[in-house]
Structure formats: structure tokens, C-alpha cells
């Protein structure tokens, strides 16, 4: 058991590290990045941007450091200056980056001129890093500063401001879909081949084939835009609370930012996520319930003369829920990362939308922080799933 956990934790660290390296490399190796807009301004000639400006901005984004150093500074916060041992500085002249790359126009094989970095005019030495501000490393919980979305503010502040909205949305919809989806699945399995089962399975099948983004738009049309146009009671769509007050027929005047306003705004996104989740959960529960109902111990329970309710609730249902652990545990990363597509349709100011905004706006520290935390949570969820499996089902042993 101990050996198993040690091995698992080792694997977890490896997975997290590899995904950190991969996401960092993907975002940072690609050309362009935060300097792309700057170069266009420079070509515009309206603002004169000097060499010094560019060097300063490059230093701000740490683009003047070589990638491995940038990565370790992001991950664990080193190197942050010369290594001092016993009052003596070591390696202070080691080259860690290039402050002013030399660019030359080169004729490429397609007959066009390309700007390529051919050398370095001015190197960055390790001792120059001493005065720079730096994060303490994402591994130690310091996510650094945001580049664009909330410039120079800590990423953690940005994440915390969004986290509660995402937890509201995902938490509420997960709870609702568990409370509705599980009974539906069980009932449908118990009444297999009945009319209810037939209608229910076809609806759930359609629900699972329905793309979330189209479903969300349909809901906005059906419950917000069309009723509003017709003067019926409607549900506001978009954002988590409105900017100014409005009146809804039957419900009356709604003050912006009030509890009533927030409840009205959360209805549609929660409904979309809940319905999508229900179709998934209930199909899962139904399949696993049908599997369990064929087992010998269920037949034994019936043969003992137990009532059908007890057979289903105590013998079948409990065992049918074991594979369902897999599904439920993986809402943990979902609670953090949100539903990217649903949040973007309803302009819900949660984590998923923040991630999209960060990617669109080149705010890499934010995007990478979200991805990093998500990777950690997913890995933890995987471990949790395996542990819960053994707790729920003693027949399964960890080895």
C-alpha cells in the first residue's frame, strides 16, 4: 500500500511537471506573443519606439532571458541573482539571456525577406537579475503578475475574483444534475423497456449528442430573446448580474446587483449545464444499474423474499454507484476550471472565460496558472478516484 502511494505520487509529480513544461513551451516557443502588437505600432511610425523602449518591454515580459531560465524562474523562482555562498558571489557573469538581439533581413527560399535573429548585441548576465522582481515560483503558490488583463496585479487576485462565480455555477449545476440524473437513471433501468424508459433514453441520447454551444444559444433564444420581444416574462442572459435595473413582466422591477438579479442571471447557464450533465449522468447510472441487476447477488436477494424496493435500493443501487465515482470525482477540476464553452456563451465571469480571455490577450501568466492548477487538480482527482474505488468496493485492491 505504501509502495503504491509512493509510486503514484511520483507519477503525479511527473505528470504535472510534464504538462507544465509542455504548456509553457507551447505558449513561449511560438513567435509573436506579447510583442506582436508592439511591432505593428513600430511599423506605424506614429509613435516612435526606441531600441531602449523595446529592451525595457522585453525585460518586463522577461523575453530577454533564455527559455530554460524563464521556465525555472516561473516554476520555482530561481535563478534570482548570483549564487552567494559565504559572502562570495558565484557565477555572476554567466550569460542568461540576450537584451538586444541582432536582427537581419534574410532572403528565404521563396524569394521573400524574413527577419531573423542572427546574434546578440548585448547579453544579460546573472548578476543583473538580482534587482528584478520575480515570482517565488508557481510550485510554491506564487502565480506571478498578470501581463494584460489586470496589468501588474497578482494573478492569484484575478483567479480568486473569478473562482467564486465558477464554483457557484459548476457546484449548483453538478448538485442539481446529481439529484435529478441519478434517480432518473435508476428509474429508467428498473422500468427497462417501458414507455418511460424508451422516451427517456431517446431524450438522453439526443442530449448527449447536442453540442453545448448550440444548446446554450437555443436556450437564450427560447427563454430570453423571444419572450422579451413578445412582452412575456423572460430570463436575462449574459453576465452574472446586470449593469442597470430592468423590469420583467410578472416578476416586476429588478435592481441591478440584487439577489433577485443574480438568481435570474444564473438560471440559464445552470439549466444548460444541468441538462447536459443529466443526460450524461443518467445514461451512465442506467447502464451500470442494468449491469448490476443481472448479478447473482441481486437474484439471491430476490430469492430471499426481500421486497423489490429493498433489493433495488440496498443491493443494486449501492453497487451501481461504484463506477459512478469516476464521474463525480472529475467534477473537482471542473469546479476550478469551469465550463469554458458555457461560460463564454453566457459571458459568465468565471474561470473558463478568464482562460479564453487570457489566451486571446497573450496574458500567458494567467493562462498558464489556470492550466497548471487544472493539471494538478486532475491528477489529484485521478488518485482520489482510485482510492475511493477501493473504499467503495473491497474487491478492488490497490497494487
Amino acid at each position: 500500500m505504501t509502495a503504491y502511494f509512493i509510486r503514484r505520487i511520483f507519477q503525479m509529480i511527473l505528470v504535472v511537471l510534464i504538462s507544465a513544461v509542455a504548456s509553457y513551451a507551447l505558449l513561449n516557443l511560438a513567435p509573436g506573443g506579447p510583442l506582436a502588437g508592439l511591432r505593428q505600432i513600430q511599423q506605424n511610425n506614429r509613435f516612435q519606439i526606441t531600441e531602449e523602449d523595446i529592451a525595457r518591454i522585453r525585460a518586463y515580459f522577461e523575453l530577454d532571458l533564455y527559455l530554460p531560465y524563464r521556465f525555472t524562474r516561473w516554476l520555482i523562482g530561481v535563478p534570482r541573482g548570483p549564487i552567494t555562498i559565504g559572502g562570495k558571489e558565484y557565477l555572476s557573469d554567466m550569460v542568461v539571456g540576450c537584451a538586444r538581439p541582432l536582427e537581419t533581413e534574410i532572403l528565404n527560399d521563396q524569394g521573400k525577406y524574413e527577419t531573423k535573429v542572427t546574434g546578440c548585441g548585448e547579453f544579460v548576465k546573472l548578476k543583473e537579475l538580482a534587482g528584478r522582481r520575480t515570482s517565488h515560483g508557481i510550485l510554491f503558490g506564487d502565480f506571478g503578475l498578470s501581463w494584460r488583463l489586470l496589468r501588474d496585479r497578482p494573478v492569484s487576485e484575478l483567479l480568486l475574483s473569478r473562482l467564486s462565480k465558477t464554483i457557484q455555477l459548476i457546484g449548483l449545476s453538478t448538485l442539481l444534475s446529481l439529484f435529478i440524473g441519478i434517480p432518473l437513471g435508476v428509474f429508467s433501468a428498473v422500468k427497462q423497456y417501458s414507455k418511460f424508459d424508451y422516451i427517456f433514453t431517446s431524450l438522453a441520447f439526443m442530449g448527449s449528442a447536442m453540442p453545448t454551444f448550440f444548446f446554450g444559444i437555443l436556450m437564450i433564444l427560447l427563454f430570453s430573446i423571444i419572450p422579451k420581444g413578445a412582452g412575456w416574462p423572460y430570463v436575462p442572459a449574459g453576465l452574472s448580474e446586470s449593469v442597470r435595473g430592468y423590469t420583467v413582466p410578472l416578476i416586476g422591477a429588478v435592481v441591478a446587483g440584487s439577489v433577485k438579479d443574480r438568481i435570474l442571471h444564473i438560471i440559464l447557464p445552470v439549466a444548460v449545464l444541468t441538462l447536459v450533465n443529466i443526460s450524461f449522468y443518467s445514461r451512465f447510472v442506467r447502464a451500470s444499474m442494468l449491469e448490476v441487476m443481472r448479478q447473482d447477488y441481486v437474484r439471491t436477494a430476490r430469492a430471499k423474499g426481500l421486497s423489490e424496493t429493498i433489493v433495488i435500493m440496498k443491493h443494486a443501487f449501492r453497487n451501481a454507484l461504484i463506477p459512478f465515482i469516476t464521474v463525480v470525482v472529475f467534477t473537482l477540476p471542473g469546479l476550478f476550471s469551469g465550463a469554458i464553452i458555457t461560460e463564454s456563451i453566457f459571458a459568465w465571469p468565471g474561470m473558463g472565460r478568464l482562460y479564453l480571455l487570457a489566451l486571446n490577450d497573450f496574458d500567458y501568466p494567467v493562462a498558464m496558472s489556470i492550466f497548471f492548477i487544472l493539471a494538478i487538480l486532475t491528477v489529484i482527482a485521478t488518485l482520489l478516484r482510485d482510492i475511493l474505488y477501493t473504499v467503495a468496493d473491497p474487491r478492488i485492491r490497490l497494487s
Partner: protein, 331 residues
């Protein structure tokens, strides 16, 4: 053939109506009414998109100046052509764009499926057949890929690829070929190729696991032993014994993948990380229609319904195939 004379048979040979496995599968398949309907619908949609240049009255980039958001069925005054579904915000014909978009969306889905299943088959077969360290390296990699959150990573990758056209060099013949299928210029089809690569890059994992599982169980079968004792090479055993016998789950996986890719491509385009605007796809048409739906509530339905219909149809086909190919079910 031996030369020994067999005793002549007196009795009439008993004739049992022999049916090939294909026929058996087809009979089971036909029983699924919804599957058959889905198949017909999909063939219809495919036919329309193949005939896109014949059917579409307008070009995809053709602007009807001053005819913005004209209603369904408006006739173009100058040429007498009909805007069946009206026009969009800059006067491009909605119906024509829709069928060209279908051509692009479906081609992307089909190509992604072909690539991901091929990669999955090869990786799974190698992994299952050879076992040992090859197997553990490949399968650890697959498990690792399945652990990392997919949509966020997909978004990172496609945003990087789309912003930097030249990051991955794609040979010109491939672009020309794609351009010919999609009726786009090679330059415009680069995006589509990238999306195919991104989608297929994540899609082969499941197929590889399925293939490995089947190959592991097939390895113990006597006909494989027979092949080997006849002196067949590993390559021949994999190609002739393993792959044909493992096709059933792969075919089901492929049809479900088709549904997934149609939705996946549309989702990426919808979020702005897929094929970009002048080139129409159902996803980016839907996302563009979102900003006008306050005034024109029917607009999102036009590109949205085909996505839903294709996803549903491919799912039904996959479901029907699963039942049809399941050898445990008897007729």
C-alpha cells in the same frame, strides 16, 4: 489437392443458405430504424456538400452590395439568383456559405477520423503485439495524454498554431490537395489542415487502447498460432490476422469520433480558435450569428441545426453499428 478418389456422394448435398459476415451485419444494421434514417440523412448531407459548386447559387465570398440580412428567398435583382436563406451582415449568401461550410466541416471531421484511427490502429497493434517495454512506453504515453485536461490544451495548441502560420511546415502538395477538396486556395486551407492535425492529435488515444485490447486477446487465438507456424512474419500476422479481426470496435469508435469531430471543430471555431472567418464553417457561422440574434432570432438556427443533426446522426450510426457488430448478439 490429393489425387485420391473420394467416394461419390449419393445423398443430395444439404444446402444451408450461407451468409457472409457482411450480410449478417447488414441485416442487423437494417433493423435499427433510426440508424437507417440517420444514414440516409448523412448521405443526403454528404451529397449536397459534394455537389456544393453545382447547387450553391453564389460564391462563398461574393458580396451582394446593399443586400444585408435580406429575408429568406429574396431574388437577386441583377442576376435573378435566389438567396434561399437570405444574406449575412455583409451581404454574403447564407445558403451557399452553409453548404460550403458543410463541405469544410465534414471534410475536417472525416480526415481527422481517418488519421486518428490509422494512428490508433498502428500504435495499438504494435503495443499489443510486441508487449514488453514498447507496450509500457506507448501505453504510459496514452494514459498521460488522457490525464491532461483536453479542451484547455486543445485551445492552447490551436491558438498557437493559428497565430503562427509557419510554425508547422505543411508541404505544398498537401495544401493543394486540401484546397482542391475544400474548393479553397491552398493558403486558406492551411487552417483546415492544422485543425485536422490538432483534432487527430488527441483523437487516436481511444482507438489505440481499443486496438491494443483486441490484439492482446487475438494473440492467444489458435489461428494466429497457425499463421506463425506456417512461417508468417510479424508484419504479415499483424496485417492479415490482427487488424481485420479487430476492425469491429474500431469502426464503432470511428463513427462516434466523426460526431465528436464535427462538434469539436465547430466548438473550436465557435470559441474563435478554429478555422477563421472568410472561410465558412458551421462553427464560425454560428459564432458570427450570435451577435445579431437579438434582432434575428432565426439566424443561429441555420448553421446550428446542421451541427446538431450531424452529431446526432453519427451517434445513431455508431450506436447501430455497435449493436450490429457485436458478436454476442444472436439474430
Amino acid at each position: 489437392m490429393t489425387t485420391a478418389q473420394a467416394p461419390t456422394l449419393i445423398a443430395e448435398p444439404v444446402t444451408i443458405e450461407e451468409r457472409t459476415p457482411f450480410q449478417i451485419v447488414m441485416t442487423r444494421f437494417r433493423r435499427h430504424c433510426l440508424t437507417m434514417i440517420s444514414l440516409v440523412i448523412m448521405l443526403g448531407i454528404l451529397l449536397i456538400t459534394i455537389l456544393a459548386p453545382v447547387i450553391a447559387p453564389f460564391e462563398i465570398q461574393e458580396l451582394s452590395v446593399n443586400d444585408y440580412f435580406v429575408p429568406f428567398g429574396t431574388v437577386d435583382q441583377a442576376t435573378g439568383r435566389v438567396h434561399y436563406f437570405g444574406t449575412d451582415n455583409i451581404g454574403r449568401d447564407y445558403f451557399s456559405r452553409l453548404i460550403y461550410a458543410g463541405r469544410i466541416s465534414l471534410t475536417v471531421a472525416i480526415l481527422s477520423t481517418i488519421i486518428s484511427e490509422l494512428v490508433g490502429i498502428v500504435v495499438g497493434a504494435i503495443s499489443g503485439f510486441f508487449g514488453g517495454w514498447i507496450d509500457s512506453v506507448l501505453m504510459r504515453f496514452v494514459e498521460f495524454m488522457l490525464t491532461i485536461p483536453q479542451l484547455p490544451l486543445l485551445l492552447i495548441i490551436s491558438s498557437m498554431l493559428l497565430r503562427n502560420d509557419n510554425l508547422i511546415p505543411i508541404p505544398d502538395p498537401v495544401l493543394k490537395f486540401m484546397g482542391n477538396i475544400l474548393l479553397l486556395s491552398p493558403r486558406d486551407s492551411r487552417n483546415a489542415v492544422l485543425i485536422v492535425l490538432v483534432l487527430a492529435g488527441f483523437g487516436w488515444l481511444n482507438a489505440a487502447q481499443l486496438m491494443r485490447g483486441t490484439v492482446l486477446s487475438l494473440k492467444e487465438q489458435t489461428f494466429v498460432e497457425a499463421s506463425r507456424s506456417l512461417g508468417a512474419s510479424n508484419f504479415r500476422i499483424i496485417m492479415r490476422d490482427m487488424i481485420p479481426n479487430a476492425m469491429a470496435p474500431i469502426i464503432v469508435d470511428a463513427s462516434l469520433n466523426l460526431a465528436g469531430y464535427v462538434v469539436g471543430e465547430a466548438a473550436l471555431a465557435f470559441l474563435g480558435f478554429g478555422i477563421q472567418d472568410p472561410v465558412p464553417t458551421w462553427g464560425n457561422m454560428l459564432s458570427a450569428s450570435q451577435q445579431f440574434m437579438l434582432d434575428k432570432p432565426w439566424l443561429p438556427l441555420v448553421p446550428g441545426l446542421p451541427i446538431f443533426v450531424c452529431s446526432l446522426a453519427f451517434n445513431y450510426i455508431g450506436d447501430g453499428l455497435r449493436d450490429a457488430l457485436d458478436p454476442r448478439l444472436k439474430l
